[in-house]
């Protein structure tokens, strides 16, 4: 410990030195668009389930109506939650992963993120298969750019889930 260091520390008592940060925010470097794609699949699935749900007719029993309400409520709650998860995952990629250099190479990123967030909101507010599909498409397009920035090619294949929608996957070497 040098004399000047002790002097600087002593000066801190009179007037604290401002802090120069060597970094802030932990740049953990761990990102993956799969969370957003998965959440979008769930939203699509929930809309499908809601549309397949048989509505109780005039002659339905109270038990049938209760059963219907219970199922519908659960599907809607899950749709709400996963629309928000998808939006949040896209925000994380946008805010923390993508850099100005990426936007220069892929100028469509702006529009895609905007589309994902808007269709995510719409999918949440309404029972709209179109909005859910738009959300999934936007997350797929973002995933495709994400993997390109990582130096991986992608393949588009049917997802192995009940939604069976086309999904972008990285081709790991």
């Amino acid at each position: 410990m040098s004399l000047l260091y002790l002097l600087a520390r002593w000066l801190d008592r009179i007037s604290p030195a401002p802090i120069a940060y060597a970094h802030c925010d932990i740049p953990c470097g761990i990102y993956d668009p799969h969370h957003a794609q998965l959440a979008a699949h769930t939203v699509v699935r929930m809309v499908d389930l809601i549309n397949q749900l048989e509505k109780p007719g005039a002659s339905s029993t109270p038990e049938q109506r209760q059963e219907y309400t219970n199922k519908l409520t659960r599907y809607i709650a899950t749709k709400e939650q996963h629309s928000e998860i998808a939006k949040n995952e896209v925000r994380i990629l946008w805010g923390d992963y993508f850099k100005p250099e990426h936007v220069k190479t892929f100028p469509e990123l702006h529009e895609l993120v905007w589309k994902a967030l808007k269709s995510g909101s719409k999918a949440r507010q309404e029972i709209s298969l179109q909005a859910a599909e738009d959300l999934l498409k936007a997350t797929n397009d973002i995933a495709s750019i994400f993997w390109k920035t990582k130096g991986f090619e992608t393949i588009t294949a049917k997802a192995p889930y009940p939604t069976e929608r086309l999904t972008v996957y990285p081709k790991f070497k």
Binding site: S2, D12, P18, I19, Y21, A22, H23, P27
Partner: protein, 100 residues
């Protein structure tokens, strides 16, 4: 304007040159008559939070009015890779000596 200003270091993207808890004396006149050069240690205003200061190394000079900065430990550093180049006027000064 007095040329020297002292800063206390926090965080570890500049290890081992600067450790958390070190003090640095910064020369605010260093770039009055000559531009920064690659490799200089500088204190700059954080482009994303102007009331904060960052200490980084000049990694590139894209033109006469801007610098790019980087931490010595790339994987632990938020720098020009995320916030882009920094205008020269945002440089507080060049690190003159380190006190430890």
């Amino acid at each position: 304007m007095f040329p020297l200003r002292r800063f206390r270091i926090e965080d570890d993207s500049m290890r081992p040159v600067l450790e958390p808890g070190d003090y640095v004396l910064v020369n605010r006149w260093a770039y009055k008559f000559r531009p920064p050069v690659k490799g200089d240690l500088v204190v700059v205003r954080d482009p994303e939070t102007p009331e904060r200061f960052l200490v980084k190394r000049v990694s590139d000079l894209p033109d006469a009015t801007q610098i790019r900065v980087a931490g010595d430990n790339a994987d632990r550093s938020r720098d020009s890779r995320s916030f882009g180049p920094i205008p020269l006027r945002e440089i507080v000064g060049k690190v003159w000596i380190r006190l430890r």
